[in-house]
Symmetry: C3
Subunit: 343 residues, 3 copies
Amino acid sequence: MADKRFFTVAGPFFIGELAEMTGSELSDPSAAEKVVDDVAPLQSARENHLTFLDNRKYLDYFRATKAGACFVKPELAAEAPEGTVVLTNKNPYKAYAIAAQAFYPTKVREEFRAPSAVIDPSAVIGPNCHIDHGVVIGKNVKIGANCRIQPQAVIREGVEIGDDSDIGPNVYISHSLIGKKAKIHPGAVIGRQGFGFAIDPGGYIPVPQLGRVILEDDVEIGANSTVDRGSGPDTVIGRGTRIDNLVQIGHNVKIGKFCVIVSQTGISGSTQLGDYVMTGGQSGFAGHLQIGSGAKIAAQSGIMRDVPAQEEVMGSPAVPIRQFMRQTAIVSRMATTKKGNEE
Amino acid sequence: MADKRFFTVAGPFFIGELAEMTGSELSDPSAAEKVVDDVAPLQSARENHLTFLDNRKYLDYFRATKAGACFVKPELAAEAPEGTVVLTNKNPYKAYAIAAQAFYPTKVREEFRAPSAVIDPSAVIGPNCHIDHGVVIGKNVKIGANCRIQPQAVIREGVEIGDDSDIGPNVYISHSLIGKKAKIHPGAVIGRQGFGFAIDPGGYIPVPQLGRVILEDDVEIGANSTVDRGSGPDTVIGRGTRIDNLVQIGHNVKIGKFCVIVSQTGISGSTQLGDYVMTGGQSGFAGHLQIGSGAKIAAQSGIMRDVPAQEEVMGSPAVPIRQFMRQTAIVSRMATTKKGNEE
Amino acid sequence: MADKRFFTVAGPFFIGELAEMTGSELSDPSAAEKVVDDVAPLQSARENHLTFLDNRKYLDYFRATKAGACFVKPELAAEAPEGTVVLTNKNPYKAYAIAAQAFYPTKVREEFRAPSAVIDPSAVIGPNCHIDHGVVIGKNVKIGANCRIQPQAVIREGVEIGDDSDIGPNVYISHSLIGKKAKIHPGAVIGRQGFGFAIDPGGYIPVPQLGRVILEDDVEIGANSTVDRGSGPDTVIGRGTRIDNLVQIGHNVKIGKFCVIVSQTGISGSTQLGDYVMTGGQSGFAGHLQIGSGAKIAAQSGIMRDVPAQEEVMGSPAVPIRQFMRQTAIVSRMATTKKGNEE
């Protein structure tokens, strides 16, 4: 189903093979020998395709799907149309992710040095790296094995990047130590000096920003996002954390492991997030706050105080989500009543 | 009036010619033979200049203008100062746009291939294209006639771009089919993989993002904006739609025709907008929503539910605009009363 | 303390020297002959380090610091631990800034022209400029002395840049006159055409954007920020103003001197800010507004009306900050009371 101009499909696979690979149950064991040769969305899948149902909003599409096979939660299996083999799994989206990776495996890197790349002789670059056109790599940079550095990326003096990392085009990295399996999307800016200056009647006096950016292993930074380096302490992003597009991370921010930071979030200087924190799009954090592990910050929230672990907050200024819902309901009701009075 | 270092003016034009070109009425038909040789803002225009009044906020500037001629709505014509020829038009801003295009026509492209551009031999590039320094064009890319690809732009394998398109510097495009007359501003990132992963206690499992970005004809994408490709379905932006700077468009989003998406808006995955939708700056949309045609979303609104066609909404969470105004007024009044009590 | 891979320290300095340089008082004059050889944060500083206490939040770190010397406000000097020489100063952060600049002075530029830089023969470039790899400089561009133009930056026809400026990698500048000591961070886009078009049933008609961007001396523009050029009038940013990352400045906006515009702020077309205005992160301004000098705009505020000089406002729509606090308190109390009723 995927456009052949952009994607190359592997396969086909036996349905039994896919069930095993993903830890799913086959509703009809005799279907194990059937094959599917691609993945596709519920609406457009045909009998040779594998699909999934994750969001109940799309249940009607599931009932009408023409797909040959479908990952679905056990409790929804009975809704499957005839002709679709059901692969039940508690986490059908995860099962789909694993299967789709089998159909569309990551390409193996081929060693390449573009003639236009400017690589300082003191830089150390591991085996099987793909260094693309116009890349600039500074003094004493260290890049691990199997990395891709995409066109026009600029890697400044002293930066270290771990194995299997992918640095997008037009990315700028300075003053940073980057772990393995990093994925830095196009246009991201990592390690520029933070917004630090002393206020003085005669103007602003820049404060030398002497910290670094530390990205632990398996961190993803979205397109055109910006991560400022520390002012003295470091800016740190923990293992496995996913940062979306157009996000701003201020100096000295610490983000724990496996956080999800959705697009256009802004985190001010020196704020610390625990592990597994999720922030909705366009949420904003004042500086010097402590956000506990597992906290969930709703989209557009304005965080002005510490948030305890596991708390879900919403609003600007943010309050616990039930409190926010109550506030919203009361104000809405008052406005409706008032309207009745006026008319 | 425009700085000669940056702009080259055509003309002069007879006022009668400009009236005809823009469908305007001359208040004084005898003025048709007068000429103006440039356009200028109300405040700084002189007798050889053409200007316009669109926003009533600037009515005082109009009354005092030294301009030789001015586009204005018929009902305001009487406010013109002596010495200014009035060109009445129901849409004076549109009339000005047409006249200003005559004074400052788009330059004709000249065929050019920068020696530093890296163009895969399999790429097909139409006539009269300007391929600038440091551009990287991948395998099987197809670019139509009269296109400009500005410095350091990276166009990945399989991408297709229609005639008369202008791709800005440092732009990244992959997995995309782009129509005619596209205008992609500097630093935009189009077609990177969306923010898609399955959640698992052991980390996040990336879900291969197998869709594309489809830009229909005459679409504009602002500077440093990001448009993620579909996860399976496509991300689609309809004909004539204008997207401003620093906007985030998530995977599978569908935007209809002639929408206006103002700066720093964020639209989450799988949300669909009809035609002629307008979104104010910094507005945000949750995922999987339906926004009807002609809906108007005020700046900073947080859209958490479907919005019917033609509805105007505001607030976070957004409500119909009259409801929002009432809520704001009531809360404000309560706070004022309360203040009275306290003092 | 700073990582030697990224920073080169000068010094050591006598504490007496540092007191003199920063206008600070030594708590123990006999300590003037002691030396420190680096700066460091309160928590990690050791006896050979200089540090500072600015934010009372970190008072406990101050009480426990191992630093050899510390800038602090006079009223907190008594809290210093034994062994730490106290340098009292009304503005300890400013004192630290000056001292840290002595330890980490800006490198002197060395004249350099990368062989891959494409510089139009008509461009005039001052002495001691560092023009990096892949830079593109257009016709009649003028660049002052001691400038650095980082890799892949694109400077379009006619642009002028004053002495001692630093233009980051992947920056795009067109239609702009830029003063001395400008600091433009990576990925910023300055001078693209604004979001100007006339609305017409048949589509949007672009309005030629004939103004410029004027940056006065000593302006800083953050990473991936966008500053649109004027539509006829200019977009102007006043002397000493600091703009953070991912900020959008619309066409014709005027910003006064010494403003601080925090990350992800958006300012719509033709709005004018006086001097010393501060905007919190993610704040947004409608178009055609007047914001008085010294106004303080809280984070996430939505400014829909003029703001008087010195006013502090908050909320969306924004109101004076005391009014906002009252509104928030009342709504919060009502929701709490309501909760009591329900349970």
